[in-house]
Amino acid sequence: MDFSTPPYLLKNASVTRVMAQVLLALVPAIAVYAWLIGPAILIQIALATMTALVAETLMLKVRNRPLALFLTDGSAVVTGWLIALVFPPLAPWWLVVVGTLFAIVVAKHLYGGLGQNPFNPAMIAFAVCIVSFPAFMSQWPNQALHLGLLDQFQVIFGLMPRLDALTAATPLDALKTALKLDEAGIGVPALLANRNVYGSFAGHGWEWIALSYLVGGLWMWQRKIITWQVPTGFLGALFLISGALWLYHPDRFASPLFHLFAGGSMLGAFFIATDPVSGATTPRGKLIFGAGAGLLTYLIRVFGGYPDGVAFAVLLLNICVPLIDLYTQPPIFGMKDGK
């Protein structure tokens, strides 16, 4: 008798479907990104996807796993896309390749592959690269220049000299540096008034990408790919702490609106901190996980030395997951009143 087991009915669910919907949810943001910042992102995504798939294939071969089954699960592609989205779009081609290789080979497969990685692979890639290549990782495109696709391609592949004028800091970084240098005390509101850099509310161009992430995230929530706890915890904590400090000293601290839409907040809240494998699993645990990540993001980006804090915040919280899960086990059916 073959070893088929009840239940004989299964929902039409698969890892591939889950991952495909995550990718779909990223599409609007990518479109906005390509339109507002430049098509370079598409090149980076293509690079990252290819690298991810090649690395995945090699590792599956080495680890003697069924190729077709795991290659089609889509998890490597999601990792690749996320890496491309958090890296500077004009970064040299090898930067994304190195990051993706590290994510797939070390952060994913050396820990046991799909489902076993304790850390978010994309964030490991980001952390490794920003520590190893801090200069390249902080060269964001200067939006005053409008380069065509071909020019961008040439910049990425080193066929064109990497001029300083091409790049600039991210709005978050720019604000931090400005505040540090600013002895005269111009204050945040005056700085943010520079629409060319800071846009309408959270960075020229970037704010609209963040908004698209929010839309994609809400769609995933509606499709039950993610639950509300992590994004709510993340954005809630970020809102509360930035709001508190803003009220305390509006000249030194940017408004919650800025922080919610600047940098990687939205991407982190909906697409990165919600990674099920490396995140907390219990409902309360997810709230704590999200809130912790939101809080740390703020602390690192405002008081720390890095332009943004999402990667390190998420990685630090990944470490705490077993503990969080252990202490937030929900009571089971029939055991709700204490005993």
Binding site: S4, P6, L9, A13, G115
Partner: protein, 559 residues
């Protein structure tokens, strides 16, 4: 209208019930033979009280309940017993169990049926009657019903729930029962009510069965009872006893408690029906309603004799040619029976013809991605992926810490898992391993205490013997001394000590016995066995086989 509660989790698979609801219930024709397993309920295995060759009547008891938690079994038709012994039974193991096989005589002749007025009987006698009639939970758990009909001493009985939810896809036998025989169901519930004395009786039916709800409401009115018939939202597993109790009363029964401890008890509608047949018509449980559906052309509900071979039964529904198996029970909690010939038992509520088109083979299993879908689907609010992780690693202590024994094996977690992990299977595995270990540990514990006691006794006996011997020796010495004084010189011949003599006698007798035994053994092979009854013959064969097995396989005894 009563306030309904919700249970967490649950899933909504396609119900597929309409197919088998078109036709009314039909009576299945007499099968070529019936094979009635003796063990058809939780608890003690009934002892067979018929032998090969006996003529039995329909409803005649063939298995005597063993212990209080056990229920009698009965011949389901009249005929001749042609076999008493192991047969493959519908069980996921595919193992055999003792059955009584009866060849019907075609008359289907009842024993004398004695309806009783249960109101004139003591509650104890009613419970005994149900035990003798083989009334067990027909929802699938087959727990002897009389064992559930005693209220907890300290907790007043508040609600009695009658379960007509029938939440599993495909199954419609309870639905048809309520549509066609609602009055008897209500009367049976009335009997349970009188025994348990609850404050309220709640009949829960999923709201996808409006006809059944209407029929039951009409029956309640017609019988003048004050039962409440309540439509509950359709969501698997709303028909799980614990889920239905939760929905109707808001009480949650954990695995560590009995529902009566919370003042509530739950019975299936079919159980109530058979209880009423047993009391008011004197008919023990010899048949039940079975849904035939799945990969068949004529799905329908049949009234089927217990023991009917499944292939003969399924033939009535015209299974399609690509049918490659029979699912007993629903697609969520049922299992593929080991072969097509196994008999229908009291737990058989539904037979689903299986084909790969209908139930596609599962895609390969992937690693768990900790998505938590399973935890959200679990009606018992467990963390299936944690239990999976630990049972997979065979870390049973941890599995138990995550409450694997609260799992009702409903299958919701496997149903939703995007990685298609057979989660329930892991939990069943973990549970049975934990049980086996527990048993082993207890056995070791018993062996140890018994060993220690034996050692202690041996010590004591030795001590006592030594004391006795010392006393005797002292006495002898005194005597000898006296004799020595009396006698003068002649040295005494050394007489064999009484102990030695004793042993010699024993040895001789054992020697003799060995020879006798040897002779006997040799004779046994050549003995004329023609005049023996079939029974004795079987016995001799069994003994012979045992002996061959023992001497043939074990070299240490061979030499």
């Amino acid at each position: 209208m009563l306030q309904l509660f919700k249970f967490k989790g649950g899933v909504k698979p396609a119900t597929n019930k309409a197919q088998s609801l078109v036709e009314p219930v039909a009576v299945a024709p007499l099968p070529s033979h019936v094979a009635i397993p003796l063990h058809q309920s939780i608890g003690g295995t009934p002892r067979p009280i018929v032998a090969v060759g006996d003529k039995v009547l329909k409803g005649q008891k063939i298995g005597e309940a063993d212990g209080w938690i056990s229920a009698a079994v009965h011949a389901s038709t009249s005929g001749t017993v042609i076999h008493v012994g192991p047969q493959v039974v519908p069980h996921p193991s595919g193992l055999t169990a003792d059955c009584v096989v009866i060849e019907p005589d075609g008359r289907d002749e009842w024993i004398a049926r004695n309806p009783v007025d249960y109101r004139s009987l003591a509650p104890e006698a009613v419970r005994e009657l149900l035990r003798e009639a083989g009334v067990v939970g027909l929802g699938g758990a087959v727990f002897p019903t009389h064992g559930k009909l005693t209220a907890a001493k300290s907790v007043p009985m508040e609600e009695m729930v009658i379960n007509g939810a029938e939440c599993e896809p495909y199954i419609t036998c309870d639905d048809m029962l309520m549509r066609e025989r609602a009055v008897d169901v209500v009367r049976g519930a009335g009997v349970f009510r009188d025994l348990l004395q609850p404050k309220r009786v709640l009949i829960g039916i999923e709201d996808n069965k409006p006809e059944a709800v209407a029929a039951m409401q009409a029956a309640v009115r017609a019988t003048g009872e004050n039962f409440e018939v309540i439509a509950v939202p359709t969501r698997y597993p709303a028909g799980g006893a614990k889920q239905l109790i939760r929905v109707l009363t808001g009480k949650e029964v954990p695995a560590s408690k009995r529902s009566t401890d919370l003042g509530v008890q739950c019975f299936n509608v079919a159980t109530a029906y058979t209880a009423w047949r047993a009391i008011a018509h004197g008919e023990p449980v010899v048949s039940r309603l079975v849904t035939l559906t799945g990969n068949v052309d004529k799905p329908r509900n049949y009234e089927v004799l217990i023991g009917t071979p499944m292939d003969e039964l399924l033939a009535l529904a015209a299974p399609r040619s690509d049918t490659d198996g029979i699912l007993m029970g629903g697609p969520m909690m049922g299992f593929l029976v080991p072969n097509f010939k196994v008999p229908v038992v009291k737990a058989t509520n539904c037979l689903i013809a299986h084909s790969d088109a209908l139930f596609p083979p599962k895609a390969p299993e992937m690693p768990c991605i900790r998505c938590g879908e399973c935890a959200r689907a679990c009606p018992h609010e467990l963390q299936p992926f944690e239990m999976y992780w630990f049972s997979r690693a065979k870390n049973f202590g941890k599995t138990q810490e995550y409450n694997v024994f609260d799992c009702i094996e409903c299958g919701c977690c496997s149903f939703v898992c995007p990685s298609r992990i057979p989660l329930v299977q892991y939990f069943r595995f973990a549970k049975s391993e934990i049980w086996a270990r527990e048993k082993e540990k207890n056995a070791a514990e018993t062996a140890k205490t018994r060993f220690e006691f034996k050692q202690f006794r041996d010590e004591r006996e030795k001590r006592e013997k030594a004391e006795k011997l010392a006393k005797a020796a002292a006495a002898q010495a005194a005597k000898k001394a006296a004799e020595a004084q009396a006698a003068t010189s002649a040295p005494e011949p050394v007489a064999p000590s009484p102990l030695d003599a004793d042993q010699a006698v024993k040895k001789a007798s054992i020697q003799a016995a060995m020879e006798r035994a040897k002779a006997q053994r040799e004779a046994a092979a050549a003995r004329n066995t023609e005049s023996l009854t079939a029974d004795q013959q079987h016995e001799i064969e069994a003994i012979e086989a045992r002996r061959i097995a023992a001497f043939g396989t074990d070299e240490t005894t061979e030499k």
